[in-house]
């Protein structure tokens, strides 16, 4: 299977790999997938309490090249967005940007889930109304 240049770039030079302090009130953590399924994504966001903008995003992913590239791209897109804007990120946008083949679409779904899950964690932690809805697959 030939992968797109963009995907290979995100795989070889993943952006924003790392860990934020999950005890910090401004940090939301999403952990999605399962080792048995061959994909686990952990995506974290740092939200500025005054502006409600995402100032930092980090990820670590256990998975195939498409899963790693999808989560790397997601962190890139998250930085600078408001929480509401982040919730609007659709997995199909990731599919298009990385030219994911059909068998790898689940990687983009997982990345969208990771974003929503991180936002949900942040909102719950801070006693906010939870607007992040994870759709069952």
């Amino acid at each position: 299977m030939a992968y797109s240049e963009k995907l290979l770039d995100h795989f070889k030079n993943p952006r924003n790999v790392g860990t934020l302090d999950k005890e910090n009130a401004g940090v939301g953590t999403g952990l999605v997938g399962a080792p048995e399924c061959g994909d686990v994504m952990r995506l974290q966001i740092q939200v500025d309490p005054d502006t409600q903008k995402i100032t930092d995003a980090k990820f670590k992913t256990f998975g195939c090249g498409s899963a790693i590239a999808s989560s790397s791209l997601a962190t890139e897109w998250l930085k600078g967005k408001s929480v509401d804007e982040a919730l609007a990120i659709d997995n199909m946008a990731i599919v298009e940007e990385l030219a994911l083949p059909p068998v790898k679409i689940h990687c983009s779904v997982l990345a969208e889930d990771a974003i929503k899950s991180a936002i949900k964690d942040y909102q719950e932690k801070n006693g906010m109304e939870v607007t992040a809805v994870l759709e069952p697959h």
Partner: protein, 406 residues
């Protein structure tokens, strides 16, 4: 200058030996005959070439040339043996015994037999990948007509106790069939010595061309017959119709002749390289596990799981330079990892984390040194990216986490 691809996927297919290619070429144009044309020299030459190849194959596995049926490959041979025995021996019984770690060609032929009214027992394997002889014997009933157990496994290289299985089959008067695709031409394989009555294998896993395979069918004591699955001109003593692939068969024969001469030397050299590769990786990478028996194993294969790293992603770190396989099935829609490794009792996570290294005649020591370095770098890189590796390092019990299924 582009780097030569290091090819460690010889269990998928082997390169065709140049000496094999050379013997095939005259049979495309200079000698174009159909081996079934009995009335002119072109046919005679082709027939003679096929006879020679049949002798070369028979010589390699120590059987009579008349006991070899040419097919298109091991998949066809497996199908012919299993379905052919099922149909031929329908009056005697309808029960077949096989194992869960067999190749899909055997398992799916057995599934078809079940649809045709047969009954199939799938024996489990232990953590070494070996079947239980007690369970085999206990599974035999008066309806059992065939036991089909592979000689060596394609994913782990694990070799089954063929002689003991043959003794049990002989004791109960049951036919014994083996898919020996991964063993023939690599280690000594003598079906009669171990009591195998039908044996399938293929040319392209022993440095011959693709598209040609063989089925050994025992001729005497007992005289085994299979119902043909391909009907037509009655070639191959009526068991497999279809014009013989003369150049392919010539190449297959030459590959067998070379294997007979060189297999022992190859095996000894490859075992050393394989051990070096395995040790080199295990020494520098903690939480690495060899899958399957290391005692009963093909000399050129090792299958290793690198915990908390996903195999397909790992391969992407070096697949421009090294060709090999993973037990991860991240590309399949089902997301199911290798059923062979799961049958050994590996968790799905470890099955997803596996790489299969299969060396071959053209593997060099430099290939192994480069592979150790690139795979180790790849595993370390992927572990840096892996959240479950981080959790493991922090002492988090990963099995206690409630993962979200997807």
């Amino acid at each position: 200058m582009s780097q030569r691809l290091i090819y460690l996927d010889n269990n998928a297919t082997t390169p065709t030996d140049p000496r094999v290619v050379e013997t095939m070429i005259p049979y495309f144009y200079e000698n174009p005959g159909n081996a079934a044309s009995r009335n002119h020299p072109a046919g005679w030459v082709a027939e003679g070439a096929v006879d020679t190849a049949r002798e070369q194959l028979a010589d390699l596995i120590n059987v009579d040339p008349r006991e070899i049926i040419f097919t298109s490959g091991a998949t066809e041979s497996d199908n012919l043996a299993i379905k052919g025995v099922f149909e031929m021996y329908a009056r005697k019984g309808n029960h077949i015994i096989t194992a869960t770690t067999e190749h899909k060609a055997v398992l799916d032929a057995c599934k078809k037999v079940e649809k045709m009214g047969g009954e199939v027992t799938y024996l489990e394997v232990d953590s070494e990948g070996l079947i239980s002889l007690e369970a085999l014997e206990a599974a035999i009933t008066d309806k059992t007509i065939l036991v089909s157990i592979m000689w060596a496994n394609n994913e782990t290289g694990v070799i089954q106790p063929m002689k003991k299985i043959g003794e049990i089959c002989a004791k109960h008067g049951v036919l014994f069939m083996s898919d020996a695709t991964q063993a023939v031409g690599k280690i000594p394989v003598d079906p009669k010595e171990v009591g195998v009555h039908l044996m399938a294998w293929t040319s392209h896993k022993m440095y011959g061309p693709k598209g040609v395979g063989a089925l050994f069918v025992n001729r005497k004591n007992p005289r085994v017959k299979v119902t043909s699955q391909m009907d037509g001109g009655g070639h191959e003593r009526g068991m497999r119709s279809g014009t013989l692939n003369v150049p392919g068969i010539v190449g297959f024969g030459k590959a067998a002749a070379i294997a007979k001469e060189e297999m022992h030397e190859d095996a000894a050299r490859l075992a050393k390289l394989r051990d070096k590769l395995q040790k080199g990786l295990m020494d520098v990478l903690e939480e690495s596990y060899v899958n399957g028996s290391q005692e009963h194993r093909m000399p050129h294969v090792t299958n290793i799981s690198f915990k908390h790293v996903e195999g397909e992603g790992l391969m992407m770190t070096f697949n421009q330079n090294i060709a090999l396989s993973s037990g991860s099935a991240c590309t399949s829609a089902s997301l199911e990892p290798s059923y062979v490794l799961v049958a050994l009792g590996l968790g799905d996570d470890l099955a997803h984390s596996s790489l299969r290294f299969s060396l071959g005649r053209f593997t060099t020591e430099e290939d192994i040194d480069a592979t150790i370095k690139q795979v180790a770098d790849g595993v370390n890189h992927m572990r840096e990216l892996s959240p479950i590796w981080e959790m493991y390092k922090e002492g988090v019990d990963i099995d206690a986490i409630e993962w979200s299924e997807h």
